[in-house]
Amino acid sequence: MRVLSLAGRRLAASIPTLFLILIGVFLLLQLAPGDTVDALMAQMGGGDAATAKQLREFYGLDLSVWAQLGNYLWRLVRLDLGFSAIYGKPVATVIAERLPATILLMTASLSFAFFFGLILGVVAARGVNKWPDTLISTLGLTFYAMPTFWFGLMAIVVFSIYLQWLPAGGFEDITVSYTGLRRTLDIALHLVLPTLTLGLFYMAIYLRIMRGSMLEVLNLDFVRTARSKGMDETRVVVRHVLRNALLPMVTLIGLQAGTMLGGSVVVESVFSLPGLGRLAYESVIQRDLNTLLGIVFVSALLVIAVNFIVDLLYARLDPRITTGS
């Protein structure tokens, strides 16, 4: 129960933060020259001043900045995210359309990164300073240092152009219409390269963290005790070390889920995926304030939710946190 009240307090504390973030983003975007009507004119390749004036009235841009901000916050209190200027439909709908692809990509690459990061980290820690450690650490460093857009493009060149094993981009094949299981398989195939591109970067971080934290825990007293009891090494690692070494990993996943929810503009652009990252980028370019604030709002909500889950996981992994000792 204690953990629930803790989490409840956290949720309550995050509401003012959420409002501050939204007001901050709103004001920040006012600093950028041009509004959504200028962006529209740029896209159209011209337009007369009278039309621009009409459009500004239509989008409510003729009001003062403070009036606009006030309107926005008042709508938000009533859980109305407003209307998107680029898409001509409610922001909530626009975001809901983009959410599945983002969550799919994020879950896939985060699971991939977490799973392989964990295994490789453990292997590296157990063979510290021997060849498996050197090999894994070097690979990790390479993936970490490689720019994602380059890695993505190279993956397309190798797997789509030369080997022709995987599609070069898109969320699913649209020249043929699949249904059911065949469609699921098709989407999965389209997500292999983006997942690897995004996942390998995060995997590199996880394996470093896991390796470090394993090495630290392996030197603690209770591990020596376990060993002196005559427990075999595998049991020591799985039962005693791993569980304790996982704590920093869980912290990290909570932090990174937020980053990844905002989407990855680079990976989404290179693989032409309809995710939140590209939507946010486009909203900035098109000065679509409502959509951008909507994305910030939804991302912030999801980060709060993920952190809540992480808090619960802490308690599960380390009972000391629950008892407060």
Partner: protein
């Protein structure tokens, strides 16, 4: 930021070799029915109806679904689409179109003069960019019968202007789906367009794709050949080139790929990279002077800047054979209006540039700097970005220090055309087949503040204003052409803006495509005769 000249030279050599690759001809083949044609769609628009928005980003999709009264044929001359014939009254105030009989909308309703009347009065005249200017003096469209539309103008409308503007600004929308359905701009039909064209709209998934399929009731016999067209939204240019190579995209229009990828694909026999089919989409790179800066109010400084830039060098090393030296506001591809004499041309002459600057009183100060300025490059293409750097380096040689200020599209328009917060700006001027459509507004004084791509330089010239006004209502074609000759010479003499480079958009298309690039605005056209070989 320094450019590496060797890398640039290599790129341009590659481009040059790809141009020399001849276009293949396939006269003997029998057209094949069927197939899916996939198109690179780089920048999603807010809507798809070309009656409401004149831009290539809309034509590339909406132009296959909706049709216009006239289009341009292979020789760039007007040819009837939804109109069969036309006639102008001698005073130029009445233009009558006879419409094509037996045409139906995709929902089965007949196409009539009432559709033309509604579209012209409610869309072209009130909403369509450039249409609002073109149809400013349109007072009414009469419909004596379902196949006759009579356009009535308050002032004479030159027939050749209207016929050259209509291919872009003459798309017709179905009246029955718009009239009495609230705000036209917010009508959901704009994102699921209904037209008379060879392809019917099927689906638009934002951020992913648009699909259209064959219209079985199309009025042209045996057309179209393709089963479907799929537009794939790919925002990353390098990724688009990769998708072309992987066979996921057949066609990338309007210079959608990077210069280096275009050069690379041009050498690959599976693709054709060319400017053909884009002659109607000519553009010039511009340098715009802000006359609010006292330096640029002096014509010697404007001319000095022109003389300081080695344009042939820039073209040869950075743009390759797809660009050439510009001669004035009307590009050389405009057979109808390109004048024999373009007036002064400002060849590269660094000494003369320095002399002119000295004469104007801007002598080199400490460190050899005469004065400093802010240059705003438009974010429309990589050539503009390269040109901005080239301007910066060239002007440094004559003692002018240039700071480059980069922004995105909305920011650029706001800063240049509304806030006037620039000293020099460089971007594109799009020529739209007739100078009265989108060219003369760059020079005519009295443009409202904030109107993009218009004279916002604080420059007023009664001489050019008179030429522009006279030409806009001159119904005699030969006299009109002569007036535009005067216009070009005056523009080049006074130099409020300079148009040193002329370019045409680049197309990359699969070698399997047939009947492609066969009109001057092919990317925007309806593709009723396009087919794919096995």
């Amino acid at each position: 930021m320094d450019m590496t000249r060797r890398a640039a030279l290599m790129t341009s050599a590659a481009i040059a070799s790809s141009v020399l690759f001849p276009m293949r001809s396939f006269a003997q083949e029998t057209p094949r029915k069927g197939g899916v044609f996939t198109v690179h769609y780089g920048a999603e628009q807010r809507q798809l109806n070309p009656s409401l928005q004149a831009s290539t980003g809309v034509y590339i999709i909406g132009g296959k679904i909706q049709e216009q009264l006239v289009d341009l044929d292979a020789k760039g001359q007007p040819v009837g689409v939804l109109a069969e014939s036309w006639e102008a009254a001698p005073d130029g105030k009445t233009i009558t179109f006879k419409l094509r009989p037996g045409v139906t909308w995709h929902d089965g309703k007949p196409f009539t003069s009432a559709d033309v009347q509604f579209t012209a009065m409610e869309m072209w005249k009130k909403i369509l960019n450039y249409g609002t200017t073109l149809q400013l003096f349109l007072t009414a469209v009469d419909t004596p019968d379902p196949l006759t539309a009579v356009f009535r103008y308050e002032r004479p409308m030159p027939l050749n202007l209207l016929l050259r503007a209509l291919p872009d600004l003459g798309y017709v929308s179905p009246r029955h789906l718009y009239e009495g359905k609230g705000d036209i701009r917010q009508n959901p039909v704009n994102l699921a367009p209904v037209g008379t064209g060879p392809f019917k709209f099927v689906q638009y998934e934002r951020g992913q794709h648009v699909i259209a399929e064959r219209n079985p009731n199309y009025w042209r016999a045996n057309a179209p050949y393709l089963d479907r067209i799929v537009w794939r939204v790919v925002t990353d240019r390098a990724a688009a080139a990769a998708q072309m190579e992987a066979g996921q995209i057949h066609y990338s229009p309007f210079s959608g790929l990077t210069i280096s990828d275009s050069a690379r694909l041009g050498k690959d026999p599976r693709f054709i990279v060319s400017t053909k089919g884009n002659e109607g989409n000519a553009r010039t790179n511009t340098i715009e002077f802000n006359f609010r800066r006292k330096e640029f109010a002096d014509i010697r400084v404007r001319r000095a800047i022109a003389h300081a830039l080695d344009i042939p060098f820039f073209i040869e090393n950075f743009l390759g054979d797809f660009a050439k030296r510009g001669t004035g506001p009307i590009p050389s591809v405009s057979t109808d209006f390109y004048p024999a004499d373009n007036g002064p041309q400002y060849p590269f002459d660094k000494k003369l540039a320095a002399k002119l600057l000295d004469e104007a009183g801007f002598k080199p100060g400490a460190g050899g700097t005469r004065f400093s300025l802010r240059l705003l490059p438009a974010p429309w293409g990589e050539d503009i970005s390269l040109f901005a750097t080239f301007i910066q380096q060239s002007l440094a040689d004559v003692g002018i220090k240039v700071e480059i200020v980069r922004t995105d599209g909305g920011g650029y328009l706001k800063q240049v055309y509304d806030d006037h917060a620039f000293d020099l700006a460089t971007g594109w001027h799009q020529y739209r087949n007739d100078p009265a459509v989108s060219t003369t507004v760059w020079y005519r004084s009295g443009q409202p503040k904030g109107a993009p791509w218009t004279n916002q330089w604080d420059w007023t010239d009664p001489t050019i204003d008179k030429i522009i006004d006279d030409a806009a209502t001159e119904v005699d074609a030969a006299k009109r052409k002569a007036l535009y000759g005067d216009f070009v010479r005056r523009a080049n003499t006074e130099l409020p803006i300079w148009t040193p480079i002329e370019q045409i958009f680049l197309t990359a298309i699969t070698a399997k495509a047939r009947n492609h690039s066969n009109t001057p605005r092919w990317g925007s056209s309806s593709w009723h005769d396009l087919w794919l070989a096995e």
